[in-house]
């Protein structure tokens, strides 16, 4: 039982429109799972189904091996993309209310809130109204409310929007810490650099279908093209280039470095090892730069979406 959340061929229609078509995902325990996709792909619908806000037309969702039932809302913390708080309510009252809705007792909620308020250094906000806070400050409250009941599964939809870089980092560290303490995180975002930073697993949904999923590293391995970026120094540039071109597939490359080097992307075939390439190159010129080209999450995203147009 390694997957905390499993969705089996989930479909959802809104009238004529198919929002999800036979989508299956498996979120391993203790992982950070990136749920990616362009706008309108169906991510939010899937997340809402996991939160039992909408019911799937077909398929089933299992949490910890059990079909979803109303009691499970205690085990899930959800930070929606469209989020807000009651503007005219006081911060403390509001947090208590939302915590109680998640099934915490009032005293329990109070002591946990105190812990979090101290941790994020916002203890003096208790009696302020939400409308007196800035957007980023309100987001902090929202984050606390999401994680307060210590859910097994945390779902963050664009968690960093509205935060400045310092606070975004703070929240990122909190998410990582929660993961280390045993929580499983589903993370939906458009910001690919944070996917790169945080996610172990990803699933890509495009036009209501899942088009890609797996461990991020495995996917990168699938998408890599055995291409190496090299920077060479040689007195006879023409000769070196033509010699390489005879043996390998070569494309021009652009990157920054100190010298006025020959910059190339060299693709090798399956039989050739990187070492073979390197020793070939060292025999021809001075090697300043030698890096395997690994596709970024962003590249994979764009490429997959384009291929599925």
């Amino acid at each position: 039982m390694n997957d905390l959340l499993v969705a089996n061929s989930v479909s959802k229609n809104f009238g004529e429109f198919k929002a999800l078509n036979q989508v299956s995902i498996a979120v391993p325990k203790g992982s950070i799972f990136g749920l990616l996709g362009p706008n309108g792909a169906g991510k939010t619908t899937l997340i809402r189904i996991i939160n039992q806000i909408t019911m799937p037309d077909e398929g089933s969702v299992l949490l910890d091996g059990q079909p979803l039932k109303p009691e499970h809302i205690r085990d899930i913390g959800y930070l929606p993309e469209e989020r807000g708080l009651y503007k005219s309510m006081k911060v403390g009252e509001q947090c208590l209310y939302l915590a109680q809705l998640k099934g915490l007792s009032k005293t329990e909620a109070k002591s946990r809130l105190k812990y979090w308020f101290d941790k994020l250094d916002i203890g003096d906000w208790w009696n302020k109204k939400i409308q007196e806070l800035s957007k980023g400050q309100a987001q902090k409250i929202q984050f606390i409310v999401t994680v307060l009941h210590q859910p097994k599964l945390l779902i963050f939809d664009e968690p960093f929007s509205g935060f400045d870089p310092i606070n975004a980092n703070l929240i990122k560290d909190e998410i990582l810490q929660l993961r280390d303490e045993g929580a499983t995180v589903i993370f939906s975002t458009h910001r690919m650099e944070s996917v790169e930073e945080l996610c172990d697993h990803i699933a890509l949904i495009h036009k209501s279908n899942k088009v890609l999923d797996g461990k991020l590293n495995d996917i990168k391995r699938q998408y890599k093209t055995n291409t190496f970026e090299v920077g060479l120094e040689s007195l006879d540039r023409e000769k070196v280039i033509s010699e390489i071109q005879d043996k390998f597939e070569v494309l021009p490359a652009t990157f920054r470095n100190l010298n006025d080097d020959i910059k190339l992307n060299i693709k090798i075939n399956e039989q050739t090892s990187p070492n073979d390439l390197l020793s070939f190159l060292t025999s021809k010129a001075q090697v300043h730069h030698f890096v395997e080209v690994i596709p970024s999450a962003s590249d994979i995203f764009i490429q997959t979406v384009k291929n599925n147009q």
């Binding site: 809104f14 009238g15 809402r48 939160n51 039992q52 806000i53 909408t54 109303p70 009691e71 809302i73 205690r74 899930i76 959800y78 929606p80 469209e82 989020r83 807000g84 708080l85 009651y86 503007k87 005219s88 309510m89 209310y97 939302l98 109680q100 809705l101 998640k102 099934g103 929202q142 409310v145």
Partner: protein, 437 residues
């Protein structure tokens, strides 16, 4: 997990602690009473105004008809010409001049009566004069035919029909007035309650949408729980406000009327005119007694129980629809197109109540409308004081309950989908589609 009490508590406290709610709660009775006092004062002022009316009677028939009253003095200008009389009245700044021109015969007089004045005279003054002239002319004509004044007086008869049902229950006209007052008050109260607090529910749903907290909340509670919590919480706040209004209003009314010595019964409203008419027959002494018997004649237990059930049923039915509207739109300006279908039956109910139930409480129209669920709470509440068979009440209530359950189901569907829809104004067609999601 049942979060209903928690939601009700929050809704109630937010409403009650809201500044404008508090201000309205305490200011409204003040404004109402002040308005009432001003109207009472002004109409009293109007009645108290002393006026002099000059009479120029060229025929001589009407010489001693007009007797001075507390506020009106009549002066005879006999012998003057019309032009002189007008000039004189103008100079004295009298209220006006009643001129009866020379007529060839008694039958001809009616064509020669005129009233001259600076401003157009009040309707009650004119009709008072007309009544007096008519009476005198009638007497004169009868005298011409050989009937004496004593005979005329002897022919006057006062009839009051004593009413009794087959079961031996006695009633009188004043009973009907009391019944109308009770029924009307109950129906109107419900109407006001629905409009004021239904709107409040709608606004609070819209607020949840615009502040975007809704998705956070419904990941914890079922939409229907949230909706019911809102309806009940807001209603409780409404009841609180109403009770404060009634108490405060009552106290203020007593205080104001004693301080200013304004007799509030002087304010002429149509209902009061009816009461007055009904009371003319009974003298004032028997009045209080009659009023008490009339009230005790009412089916009070039935009235109270029916009031509670129909009030709650009707209110819940409409407020769930208000909640659905709130969920369907993004801001208050978009609510207009959906408000009309809700307000129409409500206004219709009040009209039926006011025009038909008064005329014939057990007629076809009244009966039919007291069964149709959207109008039944108001119409039935107005009918019940007149005695409605229990089976009719039960059937109507059953229909109301059935419709209420259907309306909640309907509203919950709209609500569930609508609260997560942003950005565009839905059409009726889309609302219908949401039902199938």
């Amino acid at each position: 997990m049942n979060h209903l009490p928690l939601i009700i508590k929050r809704e109630y406290l937010t409403k009650v602690k809201n500044k404008s709610f508090i201000v309205m709660t305490f200011l409204s009775p003040l404004i109402m009473i002040a308005l009432f006092a001003v109207v009472a004062y002004l109409s009293q002022l109007n009645n108290d105004k002393e006026r002099t009316i000059s009479i120029l009677d060229d025929t001589g028939y009407l010489e001693d008809v007009f007797e001075n009253t507390e506020f009106t003095t009549y002066t005879n200008l006999n012998g003057l010409s019309l032009d002189d009389a007008i000039a004189l009245v103008k100079e004295k700044e009298d209220y006006g001049l009643l001129y009866i021109g020379n007529a060839s015969s008694l039958n001809d007089v009616s064509g020669h009566v005129k009233f001259y004045s600076e401003e157009s005279p009040s309707l009650s003054v004119i009709s008072g004069l007309e009544r007096q002239i008519e009476k005198r002319l009638k007497e004169k004509k009868l005298e011409l035919d050989g009937v004496t004044l004593t005979q005329i007086e002897a022919s006057q008869t006062d009839i009051e029909i004593a009413q009794e049902s087959f079961d031996g229950e006695k009633s009188s006209k004043i009973d009907n007035v009391v019944k109308l007052a009770f029924g009307g008050a109950a129906g109107y109260l419900l109407f006001m309650f629905i409009v004021i607090y239904g709107n409040m529910i709608m606004r609070s749903v819209i607020e949840e949408k615009t502040s975007r907290i809704i998705e956070v909340i419904i990941s914890s509670v079922k939409p229907i729980q949230l909706m019911m919590g809102k309806i009940i919480g807001t209603s409780l706040a409404g009841v609180t406000q109403f009770v404060i209004w009634v108490i405060l209003g009552g106290v203020l009314l007593v205080v104001v009327s004693t301080i200013f010595g304004i007799d509030l019964t002087q304010v002429q409203t149509p209902q009061q005119e009816m009461i007055n008419q009904a009371m003319q027959a009974d003298g004032t002494q028997a009045m209080a007694e009659n009023l008490i018997t009339a009230i005790s004649n009412l089916p009070l237990t039935n009235l109270i129980i029916a009031f509670l059930f129909f009030f709650i049923g009707g209110y819940l039915l409409y407020s769930s629809l208000y909640a659905a509207i709130g969920a369907a739109v993004d801001n208050e300006t978009d609510t207009q197109q959906f408000m009309l279908p809700i307000l129409m039956p409500l206004i219709l109910a009040v009209y039926v109540g006011v025009f038909t139930v008064i005329e014939d409480p057990h007629g076809t129209i009244s009966t039919v409308f007291s069964f149709i669920p959207f109008t039944s709470p108001v119409v039935m509440l107005m009918r019940i004081p007149f005695g409605v068979p229990l089976w009719q009440q039960a059937l109507s209530l059953l229909l109301l309950l059935g419709t209420f359950i259907f309306a909640v189901w309907f509203a919950a569907k709209i609500y569930r989908v609508g609260i997560l829809m942003y950005g565009k104004k839905p059409t009726y067609k889309e609302l219908f589609k949401w039902l199938k999601y």
